[in-house]
Symmetry: C2
Subunit: 194 residues, 2 copies
DNA sequence: TGATACATGTAACGTGTTACATGATTCA
DNA sequence: TGAATCATGTAACACGTTACATGTATCA
C-alpha cells in the first residue's frame, strides 16, 4: 500500500500528468521509489475514484490528451495519516545475496562477470546521486523542508556506497577461491538410498 | 523469478519438508530471502510438476503427513544456470525513505515514535546476525564454501549497521527541525485558479 | 474426547511486470 | 500522408500477503 502514497507525495510537490509523473519517478523520486507508467495510470484512476485527487478542471478527457492531476484535501489527510502510522519493515529480499549463497552450493562459474557489471552500475548510480547532492543541496544549511529531502538522498548515497564496497570485496573473495568453488559434487540423487 | 531458486538452494543444502523450509526461511535464510509457508507450498508444487524436485520415496502423500523434498539433477542444473545468468538489479523501493519524503510535504507529526521503533528492530536484528557470525564463522579461515556464506552474512550485518546509523541520524535531524516541519500549508485546492 | 500443536494446503486480493493497443501531435 | 513521438490506457500473468480450511499426532 505504498504506491498511492508515493503518487500523492509527488502530486503535492507538483501537480502533474501521468507521463510527467512517470518521468519524475524515473529521476528524482527513483532513489526511494520506482514505478512504471502502467502502474501509475492504474493508480491515478483508483485515487480519482476514491476522491483523493482530481483532474485539473477545463481539460477534456480524450484518450491521447494530457490530463493533469492535483491532490484534494482528503488526499492530503490520507497521506498525513499514512506517514504517521506505525509500519513494520518489509522482509529482506535481495537477489544478489541469494545468488552468492546459491553459488556456494552449485559453484561460482560465470558469476564474476555479472558482479563486475553490478559494481559498475552501482558506481554510476552513486556518482549520479552525488551530482544531485552538489546541485540541489549546496554546502551547509538547507531550508527546514529540504533537510528531510537531503536526509533521504543521503540514504541513497550511503546505500550505493555500501554496495560498491561490498561488491569490490566480493570480487576479491571470488578471485581467492579455489578454481570452481565447491567441487561439482554429483551427489544429486540418481538412486540414493533412504 | 527468485523464490524457486531460493528453495532449490535451501533443498540442496538439506532436503526438507514444507514446514522445515518455512522455519529455515525464518532463520538463517531470512537475512537474504524471506517467504511464507503459503508461498513455499505453492512453489514446491510447481517445482515438482516441472521435474526439478521430487518427494523422497516411501512417504504417503496424506494431507497432514510430512513430505520431504529433494532436488533432482535438472533442478541443480537450473540453479547453476540461473546463478550464472546476467540479471539487472531490482528497482529501489523503500517505504521508510518514502515516508520521510512525504513528511517533508505533510509534516512530521507522529513520525518520531515509529522511527525509534524501527531503530530498535534494526539494532536487535544486527546483534542477532553478529551472534550467528560468532557461532558459525569463528575467527579466520573458513572453508572455501563457507567464505561465500560468510560474505552474504557480512552484507546483512553491514546493511543493518547502515540502517541503525542512518535512523539515529534521522532522529537527530527530526529533533532539530522547527516544531512541525513544513507549515500546515493549506494551499490545497478549494478553489485554486489555473 | 477434547485441546493443542504440527503439517499441508485453498482462496482472494493487491501490487509489480511485460507486452500490446489506441488516439493525438509534429514534422519531414 | 506517413513516420515518429507523445500520451493514455488494457490485458495477462507472476509474485507476495492475508485469511481461512483441513487433516494428523500428542497428551492431559
Amino acid at each position: 500500500m505504498s504506491l498511492p502514497h508515493a503518487i500523492l507525495t509527488a502530486l503535492l510537490e507538483k501537480p502533474s500528468s501521468g507521463l510527467e509523473l512517470t518521468r519524475r519517478f524515473d529521476k528524482s523520486i527513483g532513489y526511494f521509489w520506482s514505478a512504471t507508467h502502467q502502474q501509475i495510470y492504474r493508480e491515478l484512476g483508483k485515487l480519482e475514484g476514491e476522491g483523493l485527487i482530481r483532474t485539473l478542471p477545463a481539460e477534456q478527457p480524450a484518450r491521447g490528451q494530457k490530463k493533469r492531476y492535483e491532490v484534494l484535501p482528503a488526499g492530503r489527510a490520507e497521506l498525513a495519516r499514512w506517514t504517521a502510522a506505525a509500519q513494520d519493515p518489509k522482509p529482506q529480499r535481495d537477489v544478489l545475496l541469494l545468488r552468492l549463497r546459491a553459488a556456494a552450493v552449485v559453484g561460482t562459474a560465470g558469476l564474476e562477470a555479472d558482479l563486475r557489471r553490478h559494481l559498475e552500475l552501482h558506481r554510476r548510480q552513486l556518482t549520479e546521486y552525488q551530482e544531485i547532492e552538489r546541485r540541489d543541496f549546496p554546502p551547509d544549511r538547507d531550508a527546514p523542508q529540504d533537510r528531510l529531502r537531503h536526509l533521504v538522498l543521503r540514504a541513497g548515497i550511503d546505500l550505493e556506497t555500501f554496495w560498491t564496497r561490498w561488491l569490490t570485496h566480493a570480487l576479491t573473495e571470488l578471485a581467492a577461491l579455489p578454481d570452481e568453488g565447491p567441487p561439482p559434487d554429483p551427489r544429486t540423487p540418481d538412486n540414493t538410498p533412504a
